[in-house]
Structures are given as structure tokens and as C-alpha cells.
């Protein structure tokens, strides 16, 4: 069995594999630790992965389960697309877009929830729950429905309507909390002590977070078991960013891939940038902020994994940058116009930070960059309402000719 214990990331104290998430000695977060000593044949591991199912479960050997768990809807195996048009526009070498909007509920959260709900069932829970900025809400409600589990989903009351509706439709108990995400998170941390529920991102968080490693595995596999030179990923709590690094590191240790860790570039919105601010100031802890940004899925003012995200960015020669809301909208438009991928505000943040890095000259002409797009634009339509105006015409050729400009000099 490769998963052997839960280990404190602060003081290394070990705990049994159960529904626990915090070290009793120092309050540090717990993380799954593995004994990979039996996985000693990289060529065989690569073959086994390639023969696996088209989902995150092809990476089962590196997830905290003894065998393939019973699941409802499966996440992963999303496209990695090379975009020459985006690379050209930015003047950088290679840009590869990992389109994780192509998941069952249209964000990368399907990965972590796929793992967490499977673990909840294995541990005997009847009820799953979460504190969410929206994408996690969609995923928990859907995966719980597919698994036949009851669910409670807690979100900030001012969340985008699309995310509220696309959660409630699955028949969950949707709770809109009058407060911001950090208030929701605090409430759920308190509730998790009072109810025997599997809060996927509280008491099941050590397992939940493991699901994000598959975003590293998948990119490496799709690049032919090679590493990119740089990755650009959004940073909210810091968990995804940190776990992508962990995924690459595990495969490097096992010899499945060779080379060194890419430079990790994190992306935040200026209106909620506690990690970017700490990076800039050279601090190793993040001072909490009150979020005020259109990128609501990244609006975590008190990011518990921020310290680890800072550490990853610094030791890989990366960075954590922030962009203004106007740049976020431009980022959404840039990605859509050059790749045909419509992303939500978080993806706008990530694309805008890529553009900023390119402009600053941080990306070399021969660098291969992977851009992590974590959610679908249909989830945050308000963001683009002001930049889209259709031509309105009568159903007549003349009206069309008078109103709509001619493309490419062609006669209409």
C-alpha cells in the first residue's frame, strides 16, 4: 500500500490515515505520505499509466487508495493544447494550454472532489460537505449526487448566479452564507467539529488536495513524459499550486520523468493578492486581506497554503504576480481570441499574468510554458458582458451590408 500515513507539514508528526486534517501538536496541516519503494521500474510505470483509464484514475498508484475506488463521475484527462497564436501574440517560445474547464462540472475541482468523495465513501461517511468559492460547490453537489450521498454546500451569498444555479440543480442543501469566503471557511471549520460529515476541504483535505497532483502528472504525460520549463497557475488557497509541484517532484523522484522542477509562476487578482504581496515584500507568511475582485473563485483572503506557495515559487525561480480586474477581462479575451478557449475570471487572471511575465521579459524565447486554465467562462458571464456587443440588423441583405463591417476586404 503506497499511502502509509498522514504527516504534519510543519513538524513532521505522523498520524493514521483517517478523517483528520490538523496536527494536534502544532496545528500544522496534514498531508498524505507514501511509501513508493515498490515502484522501482519507471518504464513499467509509464506503460501502466498509458494503459490506464482516461481519467485521473490512470494515476491510481500515486493517489491514497489501496485499489480503484468506486466512483460516479470521473475527472481528468483534459486537453493540453499548444497555441502558436497565443505564443506569437506574447512573443514567447511555446505556450501549452491545459484546459481543465473540460471536466464534468467545468473546473479542476472535479479532480479533488473525485478523490475526496471516493475517500468519504471508503471511510464510511453518509454526508459530504464543503466551503466553496463556487467551482468546488458545483463539483461536490454533482459528485455527491452521482454517489447517492447527501450533501451540504456552503458558499458566500454574493456568488455568481451561474455558480449558485449550477450547484443547486444537483439537489444539494445549498447554504448561502452572508459573508465572504473566509467567513464561510471559518463557519465550516467550526461545523466540521460538530457534525459527522466529510467536509471535503476541511477534515478530508489531506486526500482532497492529492487530486491536484494529477494536473502535474497529466501535463507531464501529455508532453511525452517531459517537463515544461515554466508553469503559470492561479493561486487562491495555494493548495493547487503547491500540489502541482509535488506531483512533478514525485515523478522526478521515481524516475518517470527527468530534469528539474519548472519555474512556478503564481497568479492572483490585485483585489485579493495576499500571496503576491508577501512574495513582493520578501515575507514568508501571508497577511490576510479582505477580497475585492471579480475573480471570485480566487477570492480567499486568508490562504492557509500561502506559505507553501511562496516557498515553491522562490525555490523554483518563479514568482507570484497579481493583475487588476481590467487586465483579468483582457486576459479572458486574449485566451478566447487566440485559442478558442473561453475561461472564467480565474483563467483571465492566469492568462493576464502570463502576458505580464512575457512583457517583463521573464520568459525566454525558447521556453516551454504551460498555462493552467482551471474553469469555464460560462461560470462568470458578467465579466465579459461589457466587452461583447452584437450587430443588430433587420433580416435583409441591405441592412446587413449597411451595419456590419466587411472582413478581410471581401465584398459582401
Amino acid at each position: 500500500m503506497p499511502a502509509e500515513a498522514l504527516k504534519c507539514k510543519e513538524c513532521r508528526e505522523e498520524y493514521e490515515l483517517g478523517a483528520t486534517y490538523v496536527c494536534e501538536h502544532c496545528f500544522g496541516p496534514l498531508e498524505v505520505s507514501y511509501d513508493y519503494s515498490a515502484l522501482d521500474d519507471p518504464a513499467e510505470l509509464r506503460r501502466k499509466i498509458q494503459a490506464g483509464p482516461p481519467s485521473i484514475w490512470r494515476y491510481l498508484d500515486f493517489l491514497p487508495f489501496d485499489g480503484r475506488p468506486r466512483t460516479g463521475i470521473d475527472a481528468g484527462f483534459t486537453p493540453l493544447i499548444r497555441s502558436e497564436r497565443l505564443a506569437e501574440r506574447l512573443g514567447v517560445g511555446e505556450v501549452w494550454v491545459k484546459n481543465d474547464a473540460a471536466n464534468p462540472t467545468h473546473s479542476f475541482k472535479d479532480r479533488v472532489v473525485n478523490v475526496a468523495v471516493a475517500k468519504a465513501r471508503e471511510l464510511g461517511f453518509d454526508v459530504v460537505a464543503c466551503a466553496s468559492t463556487g467551482n468546488l460547490a458545483n463539483a461536490v453537489a454533482a459528485h455527491a449526487a452521482a454517489a447517492g450521498l447527501d450533501s451540504y454546500v456552503f458558499v458566500p451569498a454574493d456568488l455568481e448566479e451561474q455558480k449558485i444555479l449550477a450547484t443547486g440543480v444537483y439537489g444539494t442543501r445549498l447554504v448561502a452564507v452572508r459573508g465572504n469566503y473566509d467567513d464561510v471557511n471559518r463557519l465550516c471549520t467550526e461545523l466540521s467539529a460538530e457534525h459527522p460529515w466529510a467536509f471535503v476541504n476541511v477534515n478530508l483535505r489531506p486526500y482532497y488536495a492529492e487530486g491536484s497532483k494529477t494536473l502535474a502528472f497529466e501535463v507531464a504525460e501529455q508532453l511525452g513524459f517531459e517537463l515544461p520549463d515554466r508553469v503559470v497557475s492561479p493561486v487562491a488557497s495555494g493548495s493547487l499550486f503547491t500540489k502541482i509541484a509535488r506531483g512533478f517532484e514525485e515523478w522526478l523522484d521515481l524516475g518517470i520523468i527527468e530534469g528539474s522542477l519548472p519555474a512556478f509562476h503564481g497568479a492572483q487578482a490585485e483585489g485579493c493578492s495576499p500571496v503576491a504581496q508577501a512574495f513582493e515584500a520578501g515575507h514568508d507568511i501571508c497577511r490576510p486581506v479582505r477580497p475585492d475582485t471579480i475573480a471570485k473563485s480566487l477570492a480567499i483572503g486568508n490562504p492557509a497554503d500561502g506559505v507553501f506557495a511562496l516557498e515553491v515559487a522562490r525555490r523554483t525561480g518563479g514568482s507570484i504576480d497579481s493583475v487588476a480586474d481590467a487586465e483579468v477581462v483582457e486576459g479572458i479575451r486574449l485566451l478566447a481570441e487566440t485559442t478558442g478557449i473561453f475561461t472564467e475570471t480565474a483563467g483571465g487572471v492566469t492568462t493576464a499574468v502570463l502576458a505580464k511575465l512575457a512583457q517583463r521579459g521573464d520568459i525566454g524565447a525558447d521556453d516551454r510554458v504551460v498555462l493552467y486554465i482551471t474553469g469555464d467562462g460560462l461560470k462568470t458571464l458578467d465579466a465579459v458582458r461589457d466587452i461583447v456587443t452584437p450587430y443588430e440588423v433587420e433580416p435583409a441583405v441591405d441592412s446587413f451590408a449597411e451595419t456590419v463591417p466587411v472582413a478581410g476586404g471581401e465584398r459582401v
Binding site: 510543519e10 494536534e24 467551482n135 467550526e190 507568511i285 490576510p288
Partner: protein
């Protein structure tokens, strides 16, 4: 009526399973001191070198004390102080 300090589930083994402690205090720091005095072992779990450990969050009336004056944040009778582990979200 004093100030109520809510003990997180992870530390209740040290408080004979008490979920709350009522203390007399004028600041968050004083309130926590009073709780440390009452229950052996709590101080080392919550603080290191006299500072709050970095994964410990403390709230007064739901407001993170880092938005106030930290341990100097004033409290008065009827206030509720909550100690919780920092948890990443999503």
C-alpha cells in the same frame, strides 16, 4: 459575564472536553493567558516562542484578529473569541 473563549475540537483533550472557557480579560492576549493558566499544555499547542503558531487563527466575533491589533485587540464582557486551525479552501 466575562469573555468566552471557544476551544477547537483538536485541543479539547486538554480541557476535559470543555468546548468553551469563560474568562475575565481586556484583550485577546489576556484572555488566552487566562485559558493557558487554567489548562496545562494549551500554551505550547497554540504558541511558539510567545507568538501564535502560524497555522493558528484567532477571531473575535468572527473577525480575524490580524485585521485588528493582533493579541492586543481589545475585548469586553460578552465577546466571543474563537481559536481555529487555518484551513485552505477552494
Amino acid at each position: 459575564m466575562g469573555v468566552t473563549v471557544k476551544i477547537p475540537a483538536q485541543l479539547r483533550a486538554l480541557t476535559a472536553n470543555e468546548a468553551e472557557a469563560e474568562v475575565e480579560a481586556g484583550s485577546v492576549g489576556e484572555a488566552l493567558e487566562a485559558v493557558y493558566e487554567r489548562y496545562d499544555g494549551l500554551r505550547d499547542r497554540i504558541t511558539e516562542d510567545g507568538e501564535l503558531r502560524r497555522f493558528v487563527n484567532v477571531y473575535v466575533g468572527g473577525e480575524d484578529i490580524r485585521f485588528g491589533d493582533g493579541l492586543d485587540t481589545p475585548v469586553s464582557d460578552g465577546d466571543e473569541i474563537t481559536i481555529l486551525p487555518a484551513v485552505a479552501g477552494g
